[in-house]
Symmetry: C2
Subunit: 305 residues, 2 copies
């Protein structure tokens, strides 16, 4: 039995991401899911041993990086990302069984969600009044408790509360996606697959050229960066923190050498993990194992070369 | 009379930021404020001529960059940032006149705001039930319309609705700040002040080294970067967009030369403006006017050197 914390309450997109990872076999054991009030709170449950893992959102195609998640990974006891999954963000409109769209007079919705389905609502439920809800999951609770006729919620939350689904995959703009990661205490990363991603937090002095020098350590070794984001630390004036993701695994010699060079250069380097990516884009770094072997053979005086 | 669009409705933190810029003399003329439903919608009002300027949030110390604002600046007709201001994000608890804290049974709050003041609420209004509101401003409307006893809102929204302020500067974590920018159609940037910031959007092919090369153009010229953020464009596979802010003004020769070099290098460079910054951190780029003059004199054969 594995206890996995997630950004709750029950029925959030984060729980749906965790369900997807369980279905994909990413988590092997039976799972007890523990809701937490925020992504940082979910990570703290891993740090204090109340959960073995945490599932948290890390990047949205619309809103960008989930900065509270990244900040919580950058601070406190180090944790490691071991897997990721991506969800298409679309909503489910649900009601108590026996309700039809025409019956709906009030619709509970988390304001952020309401904004993402407002065209759909005015076309299909123009006669209904929106009742703000505290979260996507709470909107489903409001319907179950008879405080609204229908809810803009998630498919999972609707099913959990035995609501009837009136419409599925509702979104004004198609293709919004969010990626979620599974996080544990530090340990050996999952084996290299050839389609991996490595994430680090880099602390650098706020000097012209410090970042360019760090970037060069990746460029020199042919490593592709897939994310870079600066954060003023505000604790130490003039110090910046960078969240960097690169294509490749810490077991790839190019990636390993780049991390060593960053560390040697005096930057603060926090390793956040290497894991098989599901997000497309970028090429794996050139594997110089063969080249290293060639050099080794030259050094050993191999006459066959 | 200047028509200025802002991320509304009336009483949002964005309107408070605009009021602050008016008070500081950043906007000289009398102002007609036009609420828009989102930051991108406010920018579109400038593009289609319904407003001369727009005031939009661009970065939060807690949530990071406001990606929908940055994305809307990166796409469509080019716009330019001409000023910025920073607000401390703290809430106001307000009620209808004659209400005291003890009378409050229900409190309207935007769920995101409720999360930011939950400790304060449980200490000071532990007996009250939270009623979700559609926005900070809508929470004040709910109180004015007698749908809740008190609201977690902004100082401005409470004053606009003639509510009585029960508590001001309410925040569980002190020091949260958001910066807002004033945006217009392209034109000559405000004059160089020596404490300026320049913002660009850089389109680069997803090749190892492309970003490092671009960073070097700044590093070589001693220019400090104050923000860097990658965004997958998703339209063209393997193409990335970077939001870069640097310390300095486009009139600074170092900044001008760096932009020229980026343009020469084949990257897509969109200039988002140079403006006097209010946010601390970073040093202005070395002014090489003197050095350029020295070189010019050598070239002219000046014998006094």
């Amino acid at each position: 039995m594995q206890r996995i914390a997630y950004f709750g309450p029950a029925g959030t997109f984060t729980e749906a991401a965790l369900v997807q990872m369980e279905a994909a076999g990413t988590v092997r054991d039976t799972v007890e899911r523990i809701p937490a009030a925020s992504p940082p709170a979910a990570l703290d449950l891993v740090r204090n041993g109340q959960a073995e893992m945490a599932c948290v959102p890390i990047e949205s195609s619309v809103e960008g990086p989930v900065v509270p998640t990244l900040d919580a990974l950058a601070r406190g006891e180090r944790l490691q990302i071991i897997a990721e999954t991506e969800l298409v963000i679309a909503f489910t409109v649900a009601a108590r069984p026996g309700t039809s769209l025409e019956d709906v007079r009030t619709i509970a919705a988390y304001p952020v969600a309401a904004a993402q389905v407002s065209s759909w609502l005015s076309e299909n439920l123009g006669h209904a009044r929106i009742v703000p809800a505290a979260s996507n999951a709470a909107a489903a609770d409001d319907v179950a408790a008879n405080r609204a006729d229908a809810a803009v919620s998630t498919h999972l939350a609707a099913r959990q509360r035995s609501l009837q689904i009136l419409a599925d995959e509702v979104a004004d703009v198609e293709g919004a996606r969010t990626s979620f990661v599974l996080v544990t205490k530090p340990g050996p990363p999952p084996p290299r697959t050839g389609r991996d991603r490595t994430s680090i937090v880099l602390g650098l002095p706020n000097e012209p050229g410090a970042l360019a020098k760090a970037m060069n350590e990746f460029a020199l070794r042919g490593i592709d960066l897939s994310r870079i984001q600066s954060r003023p630390t505000r604790t130490a004036m003039g110090t910046y923190r960078f969240y960097l993701d690169c294509i490749g695994h810490i077991e790839d010699s190019a990636v390993g050498e780049a991390l060593k060079a960053l560390r040697r250069g005096g930057g603060e380097v926090r390793f956040l993990g290497s894991w098989p990516t599901v997000v497309s884009g970028g090429c794996p770094p050139p594997d110089d194992t063969a080249v290293s072997a060639w050099l080794e053979r030259l050094r050993r005086g191999d006459r066959t070369l």
